[in-house]
């Protein structure tokens, strides 16, 4: 059996645990920039009850609830808490998987008392971190994940063959993994409103997802980062610094996975240019952040306007291939040696410990 642990409003709950003044209040967690010009990363259950949810603009959220509390996201503490919860769950001795920063899956085999185990887990999480989790238990990971969404917050749902129809019938289709977006919308126009409707049409969708344990991580199709600036910026030096920072983040992730990219996609958004997106494929694959940055600038030169105002931007690497061995050229080998040394420093002392001076420009503009 698979036990799926889904933390309840994870970022918002951590902020409420840190600051007792925020407990019981509608709260959103957004970007570290201007609170009026960001999107909701996480909303507390008090905010969710008012119709505020992730992905909504903070302006809209504050319009719905003017007294809404806003907290700037700090990834460090969410990641640290996630790692601590993972370490605590490991202590239970079952195979354990991260599925995201706030979701974990445990293969509990044929545990005789899965509900009691789930309640013990919830108690330990609350005692150690002062936050709650909802837990789903079922024969495979997809059903377990679906079950974790049935009773939120702080609920436990066990799906067995006996109650499968009853539970899936009262679960909206959008709560099934992969059905919240367009696929779900298309299926609902064909008369599928609940998870049970989907089960009747496609039982194999639910039956053939045994779990992801001990599988090699999937090779990604693309790796990208994007960022929405606090306000539209015109200064090309600052915009280039942001492209550099995003390129550093993309490059670091490529090297971490031992892959290189041939195709770079740059996306820019601004009041004058609207959405500008272009990609270019190069003959040589790279994982060098500076090369990714240089390639991004070549793409940026295709923007027709001079000094356009930029509100949001993104760098994505695709056509990913395994990293090649040593180059024939001494200069390139020296460069690779330098990158490896920088990566080792960041790996030992935390990412962003050493970074190109150009990146500092991103901090100067609010």
């Amino acid at each position: 059996m698979i036990l799926h642990i889904d933390m309840d409003a994870f970022f918002a709950s951590i902020e409420q645990a840190i600051n007792p003044r925020l407990k019981g209040k509608p709260l959103i967690v957004g970007s570290r920039g201007n609170k009026m010009r960001t999107v909701v990363c996480a909303a507390s259950y008090e905010a969710k009850r008012l119709g505020i949810g992730s992905g909504m603009s903070s302006k809209e959220a504050l319009r719905i609830c003017p007294s809404l509390e806003f907290v700037s996201a700090e990834q460090g503490k969410y990641i640290w808490t996630s790692e601590q919860i993972f370490a605590m769950l490991e202590g239970f001795g079952f195979p354990l998987n991260y599925t995201s920063i706030d979701e974990f899956q445990m293969d509990i085999g044929a545990h005789p008392e899965p509900l009691k185990l789930a309640e013990d887990l919830q108690k330990q999480i609350y005692a150690n971190f002062n936050i709650t989790a909802s837990i789903g238990i079922a024969k495979n990971w997809l059903l377990a994940k679906t079950a974790s969404k049935v009773k939120k917050p702080n609920g436990v749902t066990l799906i067995t063959n006996a109650n499968l129809k009853e539970v899936l019938s009262r679960t909206p289709l959008g709560k099934v993994c992969g059905m919240a977006g367009k696929t779900g919308a298309i299926l609902s126009t064909r008369g599928m409103q609940t998870a049970w409707d989907l089960y009747l049409k496609m039982p194999e969708f639910f039956e053939e997802n045994p779990g992801k344990f001990n599988e090699e991580p999937e090779k990604p199709k693309s790796i990208g980062h994007s960022y929405t600036l606090p306000r539209p910026l015109e200064n090309p030096m600052v915009i280039q610094a942001w492209i550099r920072l995003l390129s550093e983040m993309v490059g670091e992730r490529l090297r971490h996975r031992n892959i290189s990219t041939k195709t770079i996609h740059l996306w820019l958004n601004g009041p004058e240019i609207g959405n500008f997106g272009a990609q270019k494929t190069f003959a040589l694959a790279t994982s060098d952040s500076f090369e990714i940055y240089s390639r991004s600038l070549k793409i940026a030169s295709q923007v027709p306007q001079k000094r356009p105002k930029i509100r949001a931007l993104g760098v994505t690497a695709s056509q990913l291939i395994p990293q090649e061995g040593l180059s024939l050229f001494l200069k390139q080998n020296q460069r690779e040696g330098l990158i490896k040394a920088l990566d080792r420093i960041n790996s030992r002392f935390g990412d962003g410990s050493i970074y190109p001076a150009q990146v500092d420009l991103t901090r100067r503009v609010k």
Partner: protein, 102 residues
């Protein structure tokens, strides 16, 4: 550890400027003296002194850790009964700071 879709290494958000208006917090960044209990490998701040005023810590609400270069910083959200504060301990300098009023 098996992971998919989430990299604990993605900690670049330190480069993003923070909005000082976050939840009405007041940033102080003051050096403080702190009386501490070290027990079973954990740190329990008991009371701290800032500008000659002593604050007794009634509750440790939350704690977390961040690495900044060579330094490891332990953060604590603490309540004195009436107010809540974020204080931090630097494992390298052994210094305590009052970061902000929550």
């Amino acid at each position: 550890m098996h992971q998919s879709g989430f990299s604990p290494k993605a900690r670049w958000d330190m480069h993003i400027p923070e909005d000082s208006d976050s939840a009405g917090e007041e940033f102080l960044n003051q050096r403080i003296d702190c009386l501490v209990l070290f027990k079973s490998g954990k740190i329990y701040p008991q009371r701290f002194t800032c500008h000659n005023k002593e604050y007794e810590i009634k509750t440790i609400n939350y704690n977390w850790q961040e690495r900044r270069g060579q330094e490891v910083i332990n953060f604590f959200s603490v309540s004195t009964g009436t107010d809540a504060y974020q204080i931090s301990f630097n494992n390298t300098s052994f210094g305590w700071r009052l970061d902000k009023v929550l």
